[in-house]
Amino acid sequence: MATDSRVLRLLRRLAALLIRGPEAVFIRADLDDATERDLERGIPMWRAQWRYAVNVLGSALSARPARWRASRLGVSWLDVRIGLRLLVKQPGLTAVAVFALAVGIPVGLIPLHAASAFEAPPPFAEAEQLQVLKNINVATSRWEAPSAYDFVQWREELTAFSALAMTTRGASYNVIAEDGRAAPIRGAEVTASTFDIVRVRPLLGRTLIAADELAGAPRVVVISHDLWQSRLGADPEVLGRSIRIGGVPRTVVGVMPQGFLFPIRDHLWIPLRVTAATDDHERGRPRIVFGRLSDSVSPEEAQAELMAVGQRMAIASPETHGRLRNEVVPFTIGLFGAGKEGLRGEAGFYGFQVLALLVLAIACANVGMLILARTATRSGEIAVRTALGASRTRVVTQMFTESLVFAVLAAGVGLLIADQISSTLFGWLLDALPYWTNFRVTLATVGWALVLAVLSAGLVSVIPALKVTGKAVQLNIQRAASGRSGVRFGGISSALIIADVTIAVAALGVAVGLSDGLTDIQDSRGIQAEQFLFAELRLPQFESGSDAAAFDEGAFELRLREAQQSLLQRLAAEPGVQGVAVGSSLPGMDHPRSGVEVDGIEHSEDFGDIRVSRARVDADFFDAFGQPVLSGRGFDSTELAEDSPAVIVNTGFVDRILSGQNPIGRRVRYATAADEEPGPWYEIVGVVGPLGMDLVDPGRAGMYHPSAPGKLHPLRLAIHVGDDPESFAPRLRALTGEVDATAIVWDPKALDKIVSFDAKIVGWVTTGAMALVGMLLALSGSGTYALMSFTVAQRRREIGIRTALGAQRSNIVRTIAKRALVQLGVGVLLGMAIAGRVLFEFHRAGRIPSQSPLLLAIAMGVGVMLLIGTLACVVPTLRALKIMPTEALRSGA
């Protein structure tokens, strides 16, 4: 048929699924007719499809249903309609159940969705052919960046790949356009073959070619569409223009199409010159070797060939390649350093998946309780239907379908919310991820959500349905006639209420404990970080892309020293500036760590078993942060040389490495491998308190070296200016401009906004965990309330009889409350025990500084659940007491 398209085929399937009944075949044929005529009339395809979809939905809701029988799938349209009516008829139950599943289903999906997003292939033709070639150190199981030598060997010997390329990653270049403005731009050095492999054509000019890689070739650059627009004014004559990159003038030879930012989020590509001879000093720079598989070669065949080549290389150079194993990994997975299986292959993934599904299971348990309660009220109706000949399967199917209706609704709501918040949730990560990574909801995620919805509907409906259909029909009809529910679910409801209260109390306890741990992370810098302005200063001609020949290290150091000293003098003269600290890393940032040996302390065979954070700082560093040297002395200006033997350690070093012994005068040096020459000894001259070297573990051992002006680049400054430090940023830029017009002040912001990657991860996990426990609490609270109030409401008849017999109101309330309080009490005790245990573990791991939040957390958990429980119990009881006894008895309520 001419009117065929993928969307239409999908819609036809939807029509076949939704439109039931005796006229379905004619309706569906008419739908096709109408679309064909729409297209003949010149209506655009998308509009014809839209009209088709509207007609399908309208027909599904209005077509005459099939007669009272289960369809082939066991689900009839009538059941769906009953389910839809129940949604509207019982808005309270609908709201609670949809909320629970709208939380549970997306949470259950997070691990799979995140893995798919992280591992999405790049947007290139036949992207599955793109593979990364990796070196893995067998001893450490870590990924080692391939060297130029590896690349050259692989390129010469491998036949499984039609082409191989090498690219750097994570580099920033100081780009100065013709207008003289300097700005840091992310870019990559790539071999020309990169563009052949990705098969993306330039928008203007050409991509890099092999001739660009030759020694002495003109210096060229290919730029991104964004860079062309933002820095070069979208000049149509841009080809041939010159821009300075890392101090080196380069001619623009091509502009890539919009959106192309390969390999991560890069805006310029300069030729990577690779020869096997450039091997050793290059090793360690982050680089990727990747290639496109030849046609009809599978990744496994490529893997086998790479292994064979790797073995030959190991025999030829055992000292460098003997410890390496090689792997061929799909491109995006290869970028992350994960194993061949990607995130799904990581040990933690399944744990995460189990936790996420646990949340869904708890949501299901709560919704199941509500369904059970609802089913109890319908036991009479179900008994009558059973008596009239409906089979047990039929009734169970109907109840499943009813639950499916709100499970699908909840999944839809949940996905909509997830789609909106996932970008925010993962947004902070995006900068480090390739440009095609997208956390929006995909068709696959929708598919998984539907699977979970069906499973959830099964879980929440089957037990109530079996229970309600399991009773003798006669008994249920009798009970229905007398107005009573035929179902008693004391045991199950008690167990579920107790489980709910336990979870809620435990969740609240852990949440409060964790939030205290989070506050602790912010406080663990040991300074008033919100009063400092952080800025990073960079001078051009010190970028990783510049040619070594064009770079004079001595001259640069001199220039840097002058700039640093001059800027510090100007800052000191500024009113309001109370101090300036200069360091390689500042409190709260990531600090590099190294293994150390301490003179007089036994070390295990494994070198580097004692690891310390380290930083290089100027003489005023500790004063500027208001951190006195606790014992010993600070650095004096005479020992600010690179090779000074003086170091200052923190209290974490004294406590953890020296077990509290006096450190002054002790010697320490960096650990080296057994066959390497040991480094120089340093002498500890002073001790300072913890200064945010590790926000997650404030007690971590740390060591400070002195640093002279001109030795640190980029230069990281913390300027103590008091409240609202960011208002000082324009002045800092102005002062920097006076000192060196080409210097860049990179992203100045209040120091408390600088958070190390580890702490970000911990913060993110903590926030996620808090959100999760918040959801659990809401689920448990609403579930407990709903079920308790329902069970109490079921006893209205009993309350009526007691009142009629002259029982006192207080006695009735006490009797009703007794059972509820026992359930609450058991739940609270169990919850306290779990929360206590979890928080105790945190406390023992040093994450929570004191026991007090533990008690507070548990007290809060108990308080909240008692409140919910009391309300759930008292409100319906009081309502029942207001009814006249005769009325309660007559209505049989």
């Binding site: 005796p22 006229e23 109408a34 809701l61 209005s62």
Partner: protein
Amino acid sequence: MGYLGEFEQLILFAVVELGDDAYGGTIREAIERRTGRVVSSGAIYTALGRLAERDLVTSRIGEPTAGRAGRPRKYYSLEAEGARALSATYSTIQSMAGGLMARVTELAEGG
């Protein structure tokens, strides 16, 4: 005979207009063309089913057609009883509206 709802009237008028070519798809188009109302095929068949149960219309299955993947059409035609019902309902509305439309228009325009 019974009263006809508004939607049923629309359908019967369409059946009259279409004559031998009255089936779900053309009826739907006729209603859309004349009134601007977009109705679903399912609603049309449901209403036609009700009308057929009241013997106001009859249906016959047409020959399978190539354009519909061999699926046949279900053609409807108006019975004398249906024509009487349509006429009576329309007359009722007309009698009731007689002389009142000017006032209705006035009220609709806020007068």
